[in-house]
Amino acid sequence: MPEASTGVALNTVEVRFTGGMLALNRLLMTLQNKRMPVAGFTLGRDGGGLRATIVLDCPPESALRYTALISALADVTEAGPAETIEIALVETSADWRTVAEQSGVQAREDGKLVVASGGPEKMDDFLATLGEDVEDVVRLGPVARPEGGV
């Protein structure tokens, strides 16, 4: 059984690794094998290697233990806690500026689209508040927030 979902404590771990598909396979197998409570998984390029942003839904001390486990994989060059953001591209007729301010996400207009960014929970709140006024939405992430913010 995976660790019981807490529903409140999302911990993000950013993992950089080399070794391509074989290493990715090993990472995924480790997540599954150790029944880690993965609530999100995003993969991207990172120089010559890969970077995975893993959102774990568990108490912080469990996330630390899981991070230690991931760090021990020989392909992993770096693994540690990270702050994450999601990006949403939204088409809406609603008063998105007010909703964004209330939800704590950053948002700006780009042509017909609203480009919003913020933590996963804030983004959930933002989109839920917009509700049926959302005509179309594309969500990207979660990804680790680059140092210095966006």
Binding site: N25, A68, A74
Partner: protein
């Protein structure tokens, strides 16, 4: 590949050739490496495992692609669960044939991902030598484990060089942390402390530090199943081992203790039973080299991610002023009294034909240098309960995976490592049949392995569970076997059958005195049970101590 093995100091490798590993085998005779041709790849993996456990060095096994590689799987999983350093080399179909469902192609890397510490598919010949060396580093560093190297046949044929390989500096683990000093303070103030030592003590070569710590503080020592022989059984501070079939008094001691100093162990469910009821009165100091083990099952008061030897050495430094062995006198007296009934039961059982009498006879015949390799099941528990291990690392068994069929091939590894020491296998009549073909390997190499089968005509432990928890519905646990005397004779080995009324002592002495492998088939009570027993997932309060049938 052979040069990398030599550069790693490898002397023995255990394997079985086949199409995709032929270039390696073609080169092998030109190198001073002793290859042991087993009769099955699973046995090769277990033999390498036994060699590694006995020596602390990396064991090496070799197989071809496809079925050769898949046959290694159980051995790799066994090594992974017990943190045994192993390098498995598999041949693979040539690079142009990869991914095309070629003859004997299988994705052994994918297959073994969950139970290897790491694995490599070598696609660049120039990476072959450094990969081999790196595999050994990974296998033995930190928490040891098995590493697989899958080498396509054309890569084996290709010319390669060492690619400027330089051995990585192994960074010693940090030995000082505030936790160590706090741990020492807790050890000073505890009234009913216990040291719970696991396999990590043996793997880390920390037997002396464990002994010094126990003797300095006067704290009694218990071990896990794999920790047995990390501390001498005849030491006055040794209590025994806890868990599902551990001594009742040890389980109760843990239940009563106010401090558990757990070192080099991982709180396996066979130790804890119901984790939330385990050691309910104790603060827990947990030391393990693998930080991901800390807090996994039991939430420790103090957790220290460190090598067992370094950590205990450091803690001893914080206990310099403690008068030697004066601590915990009342607690030790109390524990001593609690063990009296078990001692009496053991004494009285010595006169009855059965497992205890067999163990006692082997102990006497083999002497203090005995290295015992057990299989998995009832006999494994009896051996752990009734042998007295005074020599460090003299008890070898498959703990985490519980692999039936482990003992005979693992004993081959032990016998190659220590040809002068008496090596005994104790197995059940189920497990022994799983790798019985290795008698041929044992004969070919003249290995001096003595085998004692406790033959009850059942898969005994499963039958015991059926008796307790399934109303004696013995579904598919009755098992037959060959006439072992005739079988061993057909292999050119000597064997005897021993039944109730026969002279156990004489049979064991005979076996010990023969040159080479001998095989004793002890027919024992089909319904003999292992006691005590804590049913799976329960606590010491639900322990079954005697036959209630």
């Amino acid at each position: 590949m052979c040069e990398a093995l030599l550069d790693e100091g490898v002397e023995h490798l255990f394997g079985y050739p086949g199409g995709a590993i032929m270039p390696f085998y073609d080169a092998l005779p030109d190198y001073p490496l002793r290859h042991v041709l087993t009769r099955h790849e699973q046995a090769a993996a277990h033999a390498a495992d036994g060699y590694a456990r006995a020596t602390g060095r990396v064991g090496v096994c070799v197989a071809t692609s496809g079925p050769g590689a898949t046959n290694l799987v159980t051995g790799l999983a066994t090594a992974q669960m017990d943190s045994v350093p192993l390098v498995a080399i598999t041949g693979q179909v040539g690079r142009p044939a990869l991914g095309k469902d070629s003859f004997q192609e299988t994705n052994v890397m994918g297959m073994t991902l969950p139970f290897t510490k790491h694995s490599f598919l070598v696609e660049d010949p120039d990476e072959l030598y450094p990969t081999m060396r790196r595999a050994f580093e990974i296998a033995r560093s930190g928490r040891p484990g098995p590493v697989l190297i899958d080498v396509p046949k054309d890569v084996q044929f290709a010319a390669c060089n060492d690619n400027g390989y330089r051995r990585l500096k192994e960074v010693p683990s940090p030995v000082e942390s505030p936790g160590l000093e706090r741990a020492a303070m807790l050890l000073r103030s505890a009234k009913r402390p216990l040291i719970l030592a696991g396999h990590g003590v043996t793997l880390g070569g920390a037997e002396m530090e464990l002994r010094l710590l126990a003797e300095r503080t006067g704290i009694p020592v218990v071990t896990t199943l794999l920790g047995i022989s990390a501390f001498p059984d005849d030491h006055p501070l040794y209590l025994g081992w806890p868990g599902m079939h551990g001594q009742a008094s040890v389980n109760r001691a843990i239940d009563r203790s106010d401090l558990l100093f757990a070192v080099g162990m991982r709180f396996d469910d066979r130790i804890t039973g119901a984790a939330h009821k385990f050691a309910p009165n104790a603060k827990v100091i947990h030391i393990d080299i693998d930080p991901s083990e800390l807090g996994k099952v039991i939430k420790p008061t103090i957790s220290i991610a460190a090598d067992a030897k370094a950590a205990m050495h450091s803690i001893l430094g914080h206990l310099d002023d403690v008068p030697e062995g004066e601590g915990c006198a009342r607690w030790r007296e109390e524990l001593g009294r609690s063990q009296e009934p078990e001692r009496r039961r053991k004494e009285s059982a010595r006169d009855e034909y059965g497992p205890i009498q067999v163990m006692e006879a082997i102990k006497r015949a083999a002497g203090p240098n005995l290295r015992l390799v057990t299989d998995v099941g009832q006999h494994q528990m009896w051996a752990a309960q009734f042998f007295e291990f005074t020599k460090a690392n003299s008890h070898i068994t498959s703990g985490g995976l519980g692999t039936m069929g482990f003992a005979l091939p693992a004993a081959m590894g032990v016998a190659f490592a220590y040809p002068e020491d008496p090596v005994w296998v104790i197995a059940g009549d189920g497990g022994i049949q799983m790798n019985l073909q290795e008698l041929a390997t044992i004969r070919d190499f003249g290995l001096n392995i003595k085998v004692a089968v406790l033959n009850n005509g059942y898969l005994g432990m499963v039958r015991q569970w059926q008796q307790f928890f399934h109303n004696r519905r013995y579904s598919e646990t009755s098992i037959t076997g060959p006439d072992y005397e005739q079988l061993t004779a057909s292999y050119g080995l000597a064997g005897k059958t021993v039944r109730e009324g026969d002279d156990v002592e004489a049979a064991v002495r005979w076996a010990q005195e023969q040159d080479g492998c001998t095989f004793l088939d002890f027919h024992i009570d089909p319904e003999a049970n292992v006691y005590p027993m804590i049913p799976s997932g329960m606590s010491v309060n639900e322990m079954i101590e005697e036959d209630r049938a």
